[in-house]
Point group: C2
Chain length 455, copies 2
C-alpha cells in the first residue's frame, strides 16, 4: 500500500486533477491520497490558500470580503465543471465551502483563520473524490476528524499527537481509495487546527507512518530533487537517491521541495519517500531512504541560504570560564532568539543566527547584555552572512573532501568567514559574505558535479 500526496500545482485546474486521477488509477497500491488546495495555474495566479487568507483578513478588518469569497467558490465551481461533475455535486460542495467560510459569532481570529485556510484542502479532497466516483472508481472523501488525526491546539503550528497514529492505522482496512485533505487535524475537543504552511506534506508523512505504507509518494511539479538550486545553476544534475539525513540538511537551506517537518514521521517509521512529478509520472523521481545503496557520490548536494548574522564575542581567557558559552546562549534565549551555530576560538566565540527577528533594537540590547553581564571585551554584530553547505553521507570519512571544497572556493576567490565541520558525517558548512554566495555555490558545483570523472 502506498500513500500519495499531491501538491498545489498538481491540483490547480480540472486538467491537472485529471492527471492526478490517472496517476491514482495507474497503480492499485495507491490507496491513500492526500491533497493540497489548488495552487497556481500560471505564474501570476494566486493560490487558493492565499485567497482564503486574504478573505479572512478582509473579514477581520471588516472590509469587503464577499468578492474574494466569490472568487474562491468560483475557482472550485470552474474545476467541478471542468471535471463534468453533476451540477448537484458541485453545488453541494460549493455550499459546504460557503458554510465553512462563514464567520462564527465570537470565534477567535486564529480559529477562524485556521478553519477557513483548511477549507481549501477540504473542498479539493471532496472534488477529487467526487470525480473518481464519477469515473466509477471506488473512492471516498475522509475527514481528518473522523479518521482520528489528532493534533495539539497550536493555531497554524499544530503538532500531531502520538495517539493519532493508532487511530489513523484503521485507514488501511478500507477497501476503497481514500481521499484525505492535507494541512489540518483536530484537537481532542474537535477544534480544527492547521499545520504550518505547506503542511499537506506533513499529513502525507503521518498517514504513511501510521498505515506502515510501503512508500510515501510526494507528487510535485519537478522531476526530482536536484543537487543544487536550479535558480543558481542551469539544469543541474538530478539526485536519484538520498538519505533522510542528507535531505534534512539540504532542506535546511534552499531546498524547499519538501516541508522540513514532513520528513520526521516517515523517517521515524522508516517509510521511504519518493518525490515525483505529476506532469511527468514516468520519470523515476528522487527516493529518500534510510540507507543509500549507491555510495558513488561523496557529495550528494549543495545548499545555500542567506540572511544570517554573526555575533562575535571576545574575552581574554574566556575558555577558562566555566559557563561562559551557556550564559551567552541564555541571553539569546531570553530575547527569544534561536541560533544556528557557535564556532569558537580560544578566547572568542561567534553565534550565527538568522536575521529575521534580530532587529536593531534587539541587537543593541543583546550587545549591551553581553558586555555588561559577561564582561566581554569586544562584541560585534555583522549581518551579511550566507551559509553554503555540501551534504553527503560518509563524506567526512573520505580524506580530502574539505581540501577539494576549500581549494575550489579559494580558486573562485571566495573568502571563508567561517568553517563548521563537526562530528556530523553528513555535512560541511562554509560561512561566506552574501555577495560571494552564488560564486561559492557555482565553484562547489563545478568541483563536485562539473566533470563526470569526478563523480
Amino acid at each position: 500500500m502506498k500513500v500519495a500526496k499531491f501538491g498545489g500545482t498538481s491540483l490547480a485546474s480540472a486538467e491537472q486533477i485529471k492527471k492526478v486521477c490517472q496517476i491514482i488509477q495507474a497503480d492499485a497500491q495507491r490507496k491513500l491520497i492526500v491533497v493540497s488546495a489548488p495552487g497556481k495555474r500560471f505564474k501570476e495566479d494566486t493560490k487558493v490558500t492565499d485567497l482564503l487568507i486574504n478573505y479572512v483578513n478582509a473579514c477581520l478588518a471588516d472590509t469587503e470580503a464577499e468578492a474574494i469569497r466569490d472568487e474562491i467558490v468560483s475557482r472550485f465551481v470552474e474545476i467541478g465543471n471542468g471535471l463534468q461533475l453533476a451540477e448537484a455535486v458541485t453545488e453541494r460542495i460549493g455550499a459546504e465551502l460557503h458554510e465553512q467560510m462563514r464567520r462564527k459569532e465570537g470565534e477567535a481570529p486564529a480559529r477562524f483563520l485556521d478553519r477557513v485556510k483548511a477549507s481549501g484542502e477540504d473542498t479539493c479532497a471532496k472534488v477529487v473524490a467526487s470525480y473518481l466516483q464519477s469515473l466509477g472508481v471506488k473512492a471516498s472523501y475522509v475527514n481528518p476528524y473522523e479518521a482520528g488525526l489528532l493534533v495539539t491546539d497550536e493555531a497554524g503550528q499544530a503538532q500531531v499527537l502520538p495517539e493519532a497514529y493508532a487511530r489513523l492505522k484503521q485507514l488501511r482496512e478500507r477497501d476503497e481509495i481514500v481521499i484525505f485533505p492535507g494541512f489540518f487535524g483536530y484537537t481532542e475537543e474537535g477544534i480544527l487546527v492547521t499545520f504550518s504552511r505547506g503542511g499537506s506534506d506533513i499529513t502525507g508523512s503521518i498517514l504513511a507512518a501510521a498505515t506502515e505504507a510501503e512508500l510515501y509518494e510526494n507528487f510535485t511539479d519537478v522531476d526530482s530533487v536536484y543537487v543544487v538550486n536550479p535558480q543558481l545553476i542551469d539544469q543541474p544534475k538530478e539526485i536519484k537517491e538520498i538519505t533522510y539525513r542528507e535531505m534534512r540538511e539540504l532542506s535546511y537551506s534552499g531546498f524547499t521541495v519538501f516541508h522540513e517537518e514532513a520528513l520526521l514521521p516517515a523517517y521515524r517509521a522508516g517509510i521511504p519517500v519518493c518525490i515525483k512529478n505529476t506532469n511527468n509520472p514516468a520519470a523515476p523521481g528522487t527516493m529518500i531512504v534510510a540507507e543509500r545503496a549507491s555510495r558513488d557520490y561523496h557529495v550528494t548536494g549543495i545548499a545555500s541560504d542567506s540572511g544570517f548574522c554573526s555575533i562575535f564575542v571576545s574575552k581574554y581567557l574566556m575558555n577558562r570560564e566555566i559557563g561562559f558559552g551557556r550564559r551567552l546562549l541564555q541571553i539569546l534565549e531570553d530575547e527569544g532568539l534561536a541560533y544556528e551555530h557557535t564556532p569558537s576560538g580560544i578566547d572568542n566565540i561567534s553565534v550565527i543566527l538568522r536575521k529575521d527577528g534580530f532587529t536593531p533594537e534587539i541587537q543593541a540590547k543583546v550587545i549591551r547584555r553581553i558586555k555588561e553581564e559577561l564582561h566581554a571585551e569586544d562584541v560585534e554584530v555583522t549581518c551579511d552572512l550566507a551559509l553554503v553547505m555540501i551534504v553527503g553521507e560518509g563524506m567526512r570519512r573520505s580524506v580530502g573532501t574539505s581540501a577539494r571544497a576549500t581549494s575550489a572556493l579559494a580558486k573562485a576567490k571566495v573568502n571563508l568567514e567561517m568553517i563548521n565541520q563537526g562530528s556530523s558525517e553528513v555535512s560541511m558548512m562554509f560561512g561566506v559574505k552574501e555577495v560571494d554566495a552564488k560564486r561559492a555555490v557555482i565553484a562547489l558545483y563545478e568541483e563536485f558535479f562539473g566533470d563526470e570523472t569526478s563523480l
Copy 2:
C-alpha cells in the same frame, strides 16, 4: 624602565645567577627584577619548588621531612658559597628559610603549602639581592607584602586584586634595582597565597603593568618561541614577533614557554613582552606585541594538543528547538565540566572537552542525562581526539589559507574529524585522531614553513 623576570633554569646554580646578574647590569633600564625559585641544574635534577612540595607532603603525612628540608637549605647554601656571599649573609638567609619552613600550630595544610612553596622564590630573591650588593650594585630585596601585591584568598590559585596596581606603581620611584620574588602575593589580612604553578611569569607581568614599564623581559632557557613545538620538528623556525592574541592561542595547546595567565596584565596595559635566553642574551628573542609590524607570515605558528573527547549528540529537528544547546551546556556545567568547542550540523552538535575529569562515571551520567532530559536520539562519546591549530593574525582574511592547510592534511592522509574556524581572525582549528596529530603538525609545518618561498 624594564621589568625582567628570570625563570628557574636561569637561577638553578651560582653560575647561572652570575649570568643573570651580568644581564641585569648590562642594561641600566632593568630596574625591577622578578625571580623564580632555582630550577633544574641537569636533566635528572629536582626543582626547588618540587622539593618544597615533597617536604610539605612529608610533614603532613608525619613522615621524615628533615632530610628533604636539609637538601633544600643546602641547595641555597651551595649557591651562596658559589657566589662567595659573606658567611653571615648565607647563614641569615638559611635561617630565615628554616623559619619559613617550620610548620605553625593549627595552620591549615593549604596555607602551610602555599607558605613553604613561596619560600623558594623568596630565598632566591634574597640571594640575588645579596650577590648584587656584594658586587657593589645598589640593589634590594623587596617583599611582595611590603610592596602591596594584594591577591585573592585562593590557595595556589590567587588572582591579583585591582587595588594592587596603584600600590605596586610606587616601585618605580626606587633609585635602586629591586629584586622581587615571583609566584606569590598577600591577602589584605596579610596571608601569603601563591599563584598557580609557574606563576612568577604572572608576578612579572603584574609589575610591568603596574609600573608602566616600557618592556617586560621574560628570561628563560630558549632563544625564542618557535613556530612549532621543537619536540615534534627538529630545529623549527623562530618567531621574531607575535601578537598577544597569537601567543594566547598558541599557549593554549603545546606552547608552554609562557604562563597562560601571565599575558593578561601586560596585554591590558599594552606592555610589550620579550622572551629571551639567559644563556644567550645576545639573541634578539621573541617580541610579543599588540600589533605586528611585519605581516609577511600569514601563519605565525602551529600548535597541537591531545587528550580531548567529543560528545556527539543528534536529534531530528534539533535546530528548531530553542534552548537545546544551552540546556546541553547546562548539563556539562552541572557536572563541573568545562568545554572547548561546539561544532554543529543542523540536527547534531558535538561538544569537545578535555579528557581530564571526564571519568567513565561522569561520561555515563552525562550520556544518560542528555538522552533523558533532551530526548536526544543518539549520544556518542569518543576520547581519542587531538586538536591541531594554525595561528596567525589576519590569516582568515587571506583567501586560500584553509585550502592550503586542508590540502596539506589530505596529502598526508590525515582525516579531519572536525574543522572549527569562527569569526576569530587568529586561528583555524582541526580535530584529528590522536594517532594522526604528529603527522598533521609536520604536514602543516612543511606547507607553511618548509619552503622559504612560501613565507
